[in-house]
Symmetry: C2
Subunit: 198 residues, 2 copies
């Protein structure tokens, strides 16, 4: 087994990468993002920690890779939200729908949603997706209290995803994306920047 730490594009041994990802999923699910170390993942996978960094980059990158999403949510959400915070909701809903409506992405996204809804999967969201992806996006947008506002945004986006793609409730499942943008953007914009009554 190679323990090379050289940088550069190399495919890597598929079984080694799979072993690292399996160890990473197990550790993130059991211990959360904060309780997981690259060193412990490497030990479980039987490889050198440097090899984990070589294949996957930072701990944040490894976490996102372990989610097995078809797209990197940091890139998608980050670029969707570039620009003023008071236009963020419309862009977010439009981008989410375009990614989720894409038949090339939808099956993998659905599989991820089902996985995090299984017992134990909650920790992946709570101690991984939130601090690694969601809260940093809110900070980048310059939101007041991103640690409150981003979970509220998530609570409506999750509900929309479940209604449209998982449970497929009509008319939400079939509505034109731009109708859904008109319906949901005001809700999410208020969670981003509006008065929350407290």
């Amino acid at each position: 087994m190679s323990t090379s730490t050289r940088r550069g594009r190399r495919p890597g041994r598929p079984d080694t990468k799979a072993a690292i990802l399996a160890a990473a999923r197990e550790s993130f699910a059991a211990a959360g993002f904060g309780g997981t170390t690259i060193r412990a993942i490497a030990t479980t996978a039987g490889v050198d920690a440097a090899l984990v960094h070589h294949y996957f980059g930072s701990k944040e990158d490894l976490f996102v890779a372990a989610l097995a999403l078809p797209v990197d949510p940091r890139a998608v959400i980050g670029s969707a939200l570039a620009g003023p915070a008071d236009e963020a909701a419309e862009k977010l809903v439009r981008t989410f729908l375009s990614v989720w409506d894409d038949p090339g992405f939808q099956p993998a996204l659905l599989a991820t949603v089902r996985r995090v809804l299984e017992p134990g999967g909650d920790k992946l969201i709570r101690e991984g997706f939130l601090p690694v992806v969601l809260i940093p996006v809110g900070e980048q947008l310059g939101l007041d209290r991103p640690e409150l506002r981003m979970p509220l945004v998530a609570s409506q986006v999750i509900g929309l995803i479940l209604a449209r793609y998982v449970v497929r409730i009509e008319p939400i499942a079939s509505l034109d994306p731009e109708r859904l943008v008109a319906i949901y953007a005001p809700t999410i914009q208020r969670y981003f920047t509006g008065d929350l009554g407290g």
Copy 2:
């Protein structure tokens, strides 16, 4: 096996009632509410259709019984929403939180949510819960377009339930119920009676 059709409070044979409920769950999940008949359920359970009515009442009542909820959602939502439609959201969020925060109800509610999120469970919501419980509530409230508005309400309530009770995302999981009422009631009130931009 009794095939009595007499009315009145009698406990019924537990194994017969369980067989009827099992047959009902199977049929509602496979064929939806509209595609299910009391007669077919009775045949599967090996009893007379009159006995099904005797034990469970109407097909709507049997559907709600098959959901195995700790409370009848028609009674809870109906009484919560008694009064003018423009105050409905605040009452709905407050009632939902009080039922869900009750440790006597929460485990059974969580089990129901997990069941409907499993493959196949979507039909129970789409072809059962919506037409039997949700849309009638919207009609009772006199909403304009209840068949659009009630699913929108559901999409935010589902997201709140997942965030607070299933995934337990902070701060939503620990916030005081009245803070959550202040945050979510304006969203849900707009879905009930507001401008949806289309």
